[in-house]
């Protein structure tokens, strides 16, 4: 079965081709079925491969498909790597991808770009699978760029809206900055190790043939790529704007899969990070800063999708914090549980938006509990899971991360814990404002309220089960239970540092985390449920500090003033001086010189044969004389 790994990305590719070329001629039902079943087929193959991999003693299989690039000493075979990490990501991508495809059939039902939507979605899954399956950095890079492209296409899916188009462009451009770092990292890896295949690179790196500085440089360059793709400070600003895309896109690409590519890449290259303290600390600090920063912004957002977007940025920050602390398997664990509950929350939010007729402002919602019972119940599970309440999945992954961070650095642990508290608060704030209190929308909206169709609620229920029970993947060791995911991933973690915490400390940390979450939830309950306090309806009513945070700390304005404007000015100056004067001057000058010279020479061509012959004879005589004397 593992030999058939090529089938996994093949099915979405076929779905993409069918929907892309003849999708418009197909009915919506057929188009959606092709899109969904191609992913289901991949999921089934992935599941069989996963089972076979677990059963076999050999944990890493390289499947060569064909020779791709062969140039000098650069040999890049097109080969796939099946190991615990890629197999797990396959399951997440195809499993959650399938649920979201099914959900999209209901959500996008009335959209005229229905088949185009599934075309892009299938293409995205194809590239994402390429990203995690590739056996060298170049295939990963191809997938990396491909998902960036699909992200662009899907954010700007409703391309008639200029603001959405701008959001798409912003995502693309900011990702380019990260991609450049990633590309430089790959080039540096090639120059250092003369190969870019994972196995060989890691083996060589482990022998210590590369200088410490080079390792640090590689790790930091790769991290720049991860910053762009996984929305970390300073390149995170695109992700909240990416919410312009349809909600299933936000769930699949901007919460569950694509944004975790950076984490996948760092876990894959974990040897560089464990060899370089500088790089690890950078990752940890950036992660912690992002987690806290985004969580504070999430506290005051009023758009339901923006709240979830900042929550995603914040949770990704937490994952990077784990990576920086060397807890690679915990980060992957959190990727998995986060994929469950964040996809669930986004799809739930989509269901709410669907019922509200496109309204996204939580100030205009309220009391949706009765009208949307399934959505309410599943979103409750998602909210509890992300807040870290046992025994839901988020609790286990978050707690594991915080315990590992505590070993490494107490300050970062504190930041992480505060972030978790804030997370619980803003998630319950959103939850209470959406589902409880009085309905605050218009009459038509109230009349229009309805539970979503089966194709949307079934994925919600499945995801809710996963979000509730996903924690069994990594039950803590100190409970005397088996931490499956840590064992499962251990073959590809090169340097492990065993846990030094005593069981008592771990119990205390866990208790603190739960207590903190409980306090936050109680506060949110008190403010938004019991006293029914609403966020300010208009910007003018907000306090100065609140308004500042509401405007995302004016980071976009800051980038605009510090980077975009000067860049535009410099470009303008270069255009006016260098382009118009020098480049155009050289080009036009060449033309003019040729013209002028031809005008001069043209006078020789009189058309008088006698003159030509005279010139010829004169020439011959001149040649004779010069050769004679």
């Amino acid at each position: 079965m593992i030999k058939l790994i090529g089938l996994v990305p093949l099915f979405p590719l076929i779905g993409f081709l069918i929907n892309g070329f003849i999708g418009k001629k197909l009915s919506k039902g057929v188009s959606g079925a092709i899109g969904s079943f191609s992913i289901l087929a991949s999921f089934v193959v992935s599941l069989l491969i996963f089972i076979e991999l677990n059963g076999s003693a050999q944990k890493s299989h390289v499947v060569d498909l064909f020779s791709w690039i062969s140039s000098g000493n650069l040999q890049v075979p097109f080969s796939f790597l099946v190991d615990p990490l890629s197999a797990l990501f396959l399951l997440i991508i195809t499993g959650i991808g399938f649920l979201i495809h099914v959900y999209s059939v209901g959500y996008m039902h009335e959209d005229e770009g229905f088949s185009r939507f599934f075309t892009y979605l299938n293409l995205f899954v194809f590239f994402m699978l390429l990203l995690v399956l590739g056996n060298n950095y170049l295939i990963m890079f191809v997938g990396w760029e491909g998902v960036g492209l699909c992200s662009y296409l899907l954010i700007g899916f409703w391309f008639k809206n200029t603001a959405y188009n701008n959001a798409a462009k912003k995502a693309f451009v900011i990702n380019r900055i990260g991609d450049l770092g990633f590309l430089l990292g790959i080039i540096l890896i090639f120059f250092t190790f003369n190969t870019i295949s994972y196995g060989e690179v890691f083996k060589l790196a482990n022998t210590g043939i590369a200088a410490q500085g080079t390792i640090t440089a590689i790790a930091l360059l790769l991290f720049i790529g991860a910053m762009g793709k996984s929305a970390q400070i300073p390149l995170y600003t695109w992700l909240p704007d990416a919410m312009a895309g349809p909600t299933p896109v936000s769930a699949l690409i901007h919460a569950a899969t694509m944004v975790t590519a950076g984490i996948y890449m760092i876990v894959r290259s974990n040897i560089f990070y464990s060899m370089s303290d500088v790089a690890s600390e950078t990752v940890a600090v950036v992660g912690a800063a992002t987690a806290l920063f985004a969580a504070t912004i999430g506290m005051v957002q009023t758009d339901i999708k923006k709240v979830l977007a900042y929550s995603t940025v914040s949770q990704l920050g937490l994952m990077f914090l784990a990576l920086g602390a060397g807890a690679y398997s915990s980060a992957v664990f959190h990727v998995a549980t986060h994929a469950f509950f964040k996809a669930l929350l986004f799809l739930g939010a989509g269901s709410v938006i669907h019922a509200m007729g496109g309204e996204q402002d939580i100030r205009k919602m309220g009391a949706l509990k009765k009208a949307l019972p399934v959505t309410f119940f599943t979103m409750a599970i998602g909210t509890i899971a992300i807040s870290g309440i046992p025994p839901f999945s988020g609790f286990f992954s978050k707690d594991e991360i915080l315990a590992h961070v505590y070993e490494e650095n107490k300050l970062l642990w504190f930041i992480g814990s505060v972030t978790s508290m804030l997370t619980a608060f803003y998630m319950f704030r959103m939850f209470y404002l959406t589902f409880f209190g009085k309905f605050r929308g218009t009459h038509e909206q109230e009349h229009h309220l309805h539970e979503s169709p089966k194709s949307m609620t079934v994925p919600l229920i499945v995801l809710a089960i996963l979000a509730a029970l996903g924690g069994v993947m990594g039950l803590p060791e100190f409970w005397g239970t088996h931490n499956w995911i840590a064992d499962y991933l251990s073959p590809l973690i090169y340097r492990k540092n065993p846990s030094i915490l005593s069981h008592e400390t771990e119990w205390v940390l866990m208790g603190l985390a739960v207590a903190a979450a409980a306090v936050s939830i109680y506060t949110a309950y008190n403010v938004y449920r019991k006293n029914n306090i609403l966020p300010a309806a208009k910007e003018e009513d907000m306090g100065g500090a609140e308004r500042f945070v509401y405007h995302k700390y004016k980071v976009d304005e800051f980038y605009e003033a510090v980077i975009t404007k000067p860049l535009n000015l410099i470009s303008e100056a270069f255009y006016k001086f260098f382009d118009l004067k020098i480049v155009d001057g050289i080009v036009n000058g060449t033309g003019q010189a040729v013209n002028w010279f031809s005008e001069l020479i043209r006078k020789l061509q009189t058309g008088n044969i006698g003159f030509y012959i005279l010139a010829m004879v004169a020439g011959i005589v001149a040649i004779l004389f010069t050769s004679l004397f």
């Binding site: 058309g607 008088n608 044969i609 006698g610 012959i613 005279l614 004879v617």
Partner: protein, 111 residues
């Protein structure tokens, strides 16, 4: 016997004179081609140049007792005859079209 007599009678005159005569004929031909406007005269001048060369070839052939020069002359004469046939035909056509053989009137292709 006859041949040898002819050869010796050619060699009575020193080679320099032949060279000078050829050069003079060639120059007259070249100047005629350059400065005359009548197409037939230009034609004759070209023939003059060809024959100046022929004369030189024959003279050297005789002085060096080498037949190769005379073979060249025959070739040149044959080619010149063919050229005259074509050239005169062209001239006839030109005359029929423009009623003149003044080459300056033939600058029409220029514009």
């Amino acid at each position: 016997m006859n041949n040898i007599l002819l050869q010796s009678s050619i060699q009575v005159i020193p080679i320099n004179w032949y060279i000078l005569l050829s050069a003079a004929l060639f120059t007259i031909g070249a100047l005629g081609v350059m400065f005359r406007r009548n197409a037939i005269i230009i034609f004759m001048c070209i023939e003059l140049m060809l024959n100046a060369v022929n004369l030189l070839l024959v003279a050297f052939s005789s002085f060096h007792s080498d037949a190769a020069g005379q073979v060249f002359v025959f070739f040149i004469m044959a080619v010149a005859a063919a050229e005259v046939a074509v050239g005169l035909a062209i001239l006839t056509m030109i005359y029929r079209n423009v009623k003149s053989i003044d080459i300056d009137l033939l600058g029409n292709l220029k514009n």
